[in-house]
Symmetry: C2
Subunit: 203 residues, 2 copies
DNA sequence: TGCACCATTGAACCACTGGTCAATGTGAAG
DNA sequence: CTTCACATTGACCAGTGGTTCAATGGTGCA
């Protein structure tokens, strides 16, 4: 029975949510127009009516993910920490916790990365997202370098933030592949060692 | 014209190579029995005759990748380096170079990781591979900890090697997504800073 | 109230995929 | 040379997925 009209935006969101549920659980490959429609309790035709094509649906899903996911939140409790190196470490810890606490989200990003290899538009969007993420680290990296210039001679803020991002992405990979053996505390202990002795920090 | 017989092993290898060519370029999703057959200049039926099912072909491809790819080669020129921390850094550099020089291979591993999320057997194999890789780092990590016990207090060899692996995987992600902006030298400079001042090393 | 627009439906279309299998020719053994 | 096991072929089948579209009936406006 055709009916049950809804606003454009609401319908799109309803479909996107269904797509997210599916993709984050079963992977991007398992995403079919029919399954999305079923999950959203709509007809398959309607999904394409609103998104045009499956490919555009996937692109829209990525956009949705990127805006939804708070990219990197540097809150006051972090900016309040006196020592720059401490700040960086606390931030690292928080981001690692986020990775582990939202495995499905990370998993989906993973799929998008892989798809980006062959899909130009997705690749562009992922690169932009990565740039933003790295950029968010730069101020803190800059402060770290200023605090200990002799230690990090020749290191640029860009380089240091890139390494931080790299480390976090690596943790994401590790935690996804081997969740049981992934121990954040051990990671942070080792990181502490790498970054030098620091005061004990909580949360 | 049915003919052109070949030995079991040779045929399997011929098919696997074709599968690798395809998968590493176009992704695992793009791998179809027909395409593999076409690339290997064989009939589709023969592919399944030798591998039973597409899934087994993919599994065999992963096995092939894992044995082929020299997991982690700690050569003499590395064991000859006196300072343990230097050794670790040189090893990191080599592995990062490997990541960047074989993007297609890394890309394929990436696909397998993603697939492992839903495919139990693949996940198991990937975990085992990851364990081996991490294990290869452990001796050096152990030496590093022995050399500077006070600096890495509370850090286990397992933890340190896990972090090293994590870092490399992170670099792999970064280099895959954004190859142009990926600068190994800058990375290593920052890593140097993180690990403390070290003598300049080459290669 | 009636009308016209359009969101909505679901069946149908078509391309393609994994898998099966009877037919076929090749190479080696006797 | 004959024979026979079997690697090899390609047509075929059933299933699936993206996409199209004629039909339908709410919904808001006149």
């Amino acid at each position: 029975m055709p009916g049950q009209k809804a606003s454009e935006a609401a319908r799109r969101m309803q479909i996107l949510k269904a797509a997210y549920e599916l993709a984050s659980r079963k992977g991007l490959d398992a995403l079919t127009v029919r399954l999305v429609a079923k999950r959203a309790k709509l007809s398959p035709g309607l999904v394409l009516f609103h998104f045009g094509t499956k490919d555009q649906l996937i692109t829209a899903l990525l956009d949705y993910l990127i805006e939804t996911t708070s990219v990197l939140h540097v809150t006051e409790d972090i900016t309040g920490i006196p020592a720059p190196l401490d700040r960086l470490l606390v931030l690292l810890r928080r981001e690692m916790n986020r990775m582990v606490s939202e495995p499905r989200l990370i998993r989906l990003f993973f799929d998008f990365w892989a798809k980006g290899f062959t899909h130009a538009l997705i690749r562009t969007k992922m690169q932009a997202e990565l740039d933003r993420y790295r950029e968010a680290f730069r101020p803190i990296a800059h402060e770290v370098l200023q605090a200990e210039p002799e230690r990090f001679s020749g290191v640029t803020p860009e380089g240091l933030s890139a390494v931080a991002v790299s480390f976090i992405k690596g943790c994401a990979v590790q935690s996804m592949i081997d969740p049981e053996n992934f121990d954040i505390e051990e990671y942070l202990a080792a990181t502490n060692g790498l970054l030098g002795q620091l005061n004990a920090q909580t949360a």
